[in-house]
Amino acid sequence: MTHDLEALRRDVRSFLKAQAPADWRDASRTQDDFVRTQRDWFGKLVRGGYAIPHWPAEYPGGGRSLAEQKVIYEELARADCPRLLLSFVSTYHAFATLHECGNAAQKARYLPRILEGETWCQGFSEPGAGSDLAAIKTRAERKGDVYVINGQKVWSTMAQFADKCLLLARTASDGPKQAGITYLLMDMKAPGVTVRPIHQIQGDEEFAEIFLDNVEIPVSERVGEEGMGWAVAQATLASERGLTLMELSYRMRGALGRVAGLIRKHGHEDDRGVLRDFGVLVTQVDAVCALADQFLDNRINGIERIGDASIVKNAYSRALRAYSALGLRLGGMDEQYVAPITFGDLNTGNWMADFMNSYAWTIAGGSEEVQRNIIAERMLEMPREPKGWVL
């Protein structure tokens, strides 16, 4: 087992040595360049057999154990390759949804296309719903063989480049809010779909809004039964198995050299306070790597506990904040001047951009507060507030 993993590790390394793009940050200074770089790299990984290790063995490069997936992501982080952002929703969210809940026709139609580069986005969040996902308001009205959709989605990652969308819409509004939600596969080119990129405060455009104006979706594009979309959505959301946070933690560890570079650049090598602050950061990042490792090991060994994922998320997001805040502080006035950003990256060395980007991690995907509630209530078994005035 361990032997096989080491063999895999050698294979991945030699693949990455030959194939990993060296100049991808320079080739990601605009959104268009970034998308091109992403598509190129995804294609290379598909051909190399490392793009979809979590898919079943019937797909080329699939059938890998979680332990093997971990090795692959460790090596991707170590080699400092581009993160697979553009294809993430396709290969994880869309795949898991279709694989677990889609019908045979849907699987046959869409899964192969993902490997050919068809990209998907997620139409879950809405303005006004925030962390309370079940509060969505977008309506889907059945008219013969189609659903007619009206509403608005937000925080849809890379929706402006997506071909398809995993859409949650409300087919009924009586009863508990989780009921009455239906899960649909939407063509992003369909009439009535308008996508508007969201300008982020650090200059990236990782997300978009989607406006839906009488968009028609054939009933055949529904996943699961009408009104049962909430359950399907759980499959979508559970598809990411902790690999991302491990990968990101290792990438941050690799990027500690950027902080060291600042210390040398500004001549702080003999400032004991700065050395201590750097030391604290190094230990914090090392610990987050250890935690992410342990989390995955526990999953591999089937001993994960409820709340573990929330701890990893909060620990990572705090470390990322600390990392970028120290860089911003040590960089001083230099960092206040605008410099080119790298699209889709978290540890770019553009410290203002990295600092502002770090907030996304305490807000997106369930805020820090929501994670704290999960840790307190589900892991530490502290009482939940009585129904009616509960978080």
């Binding site: 969201i198 405060i201 911003l328 001083g332 206040q336 001047y337 605008v338 502002m356 997106a364 805020s367």
Partner: protein
């Protein structure tokens, strides 16, 4: 106190809270009309002869609306001019500045090299809105000087900054021959200390005003924004964060006004007030972004304007690390 409140009221009327960063040119004209450019100029020189408390009140109000006009560097420039009694063109320039011409003091350190031929070359950084300036007042190797921007060997170049509410330039000297000296070498240190202290107070006031506005906006948002079927202002954990924001601002503001009134406070004492105010501003804006959730991360919402101004203010006229170390060192001796 009365004067301070009156100025604040007038400022709030002239610059209502709901318009952030109103157009620079119009703001400047309004400020000139209201006499703000000459607030600190002695009455003998035709100014209003008001105190540090008055200018602090104005800078605080201009912070509140993330003012785009460079009132702080302008006022520092005017004070430098007013203090330069031996400068031949003093009276003429005071009149021009009071009437609305702009001769700012830079807010960052310069890197200048004097040449044997008496010329100076290098870069003067931290000049706000230099494209509307007639001249700058800079500390050159041999003392403070008025440097007209149309003089030979002088050019300006904009340096794009993250903070969208202001614009920053470098003034490049390339074999510039200083004339128009405002100080002799003996007077330079005294003027430097005076202006440094004034700059710290002005920036601190900007921070406090902006932080207060950021808190107000955040609380309003929390009262309106609903999550899990109730306004987020009802969540105890979030309420407590608002309380901590208020506490940080109040503490920093108390120190600011105390130092403003303390004529014996040294530059380091005044810088301590700025560092505390800037750290409070930073804290408040970071919380502002968090408490606004996703929309705080989009440039359509003003959160980021506050955050970016806070982060730039932290760096102007010496950052927290520099001043905290000096505060510690002075308290040790």
């Amino acid at each position: 106190m009365i004067e301070r409140n009156e100025l604040a009221d007038a400022a709030q009327k002239a610059f209502p809270a709901d318009t952030l960063s109103p157009a620079r040119g119009e703001s400047w004209q309004l400020a000139a009309e209201m006499g703000w450019l000459m607030v600190r100029l002695p009455e003998a020189d035709g100014g209003l002869g008001l105190t540090r408390e008055a200018s602090t009140a104005l800078h605080l109000e201009m912070g509140r609306i993330l003012s785009a006009m460079p009132l702080i560097p302008a006022q520092l420039g005017l004070q430098a001019m007013a203090a330069s009694h031996d400068f031949a063109e003093r009276a003429e320039w005071l009149e021009r500045l009071a009437a609305g011409e702009y001769a700012p003091l830079p807010m960052l350190e310069a890197a200048l090299t004097p040449r044997p031929d008496g010329t100076v070359s290098g870069t003067i950084s931290g000049v706000f809105e230099a494209d509307m300036a007639a001249a700058i007042i800079a500390e050159l190797p041999n003392g403070y000087a008025l440097v007209p921007l149309d003089a030979p060997g002088v050019s300006i170049v904009e340096r794009a900054i993250w903070d969208p509410s202001r614009r920053l330039f470098d003034v490049i000297l390339d074999g510039y021959t200083p004339g128009r000296m405002l100080t002799d070498p003996a007077g330079t240190k005294a003027l430097h200390d005076q202006l440094s202290g004034e700059a710290q107070l002005a920036l601190a006031a900007d921070c406090i005003g902006a932080a207060s506005a950021a808190l107000d906006m955040t609380i309003e948002y929390m009262k309106v924004r609903r999550q899990f079927d109730r306004p987020i202002a009802l969540f105890q954990a979030l309420k407590h964060r608002a309380a901590d924001m208020k506490t940080k601002i109040t503490v920093a503001e108390a120190l600011l006004w105390k130092r403003v009134r303390d004529e014996s406070a040294g530059v380091t004492d005044l810088a301590a007030a700025k560092v505390l105010a800037a750290e409070a501003f930073r804290f408040v804006t970071e919380e502002m972004v968090q408490l606004h959730g996703g929309i705080g991360l989009t440039d359509e919402h003003p959160c980021h304007l506050f955050l970016k101004r806070a982060l730039l203010n932290l760096q102007l006229c010496g950052n927290a690390d520099l001043w905290n170390e000096r505060v510690g060192r002075e308290a040790l001796s």
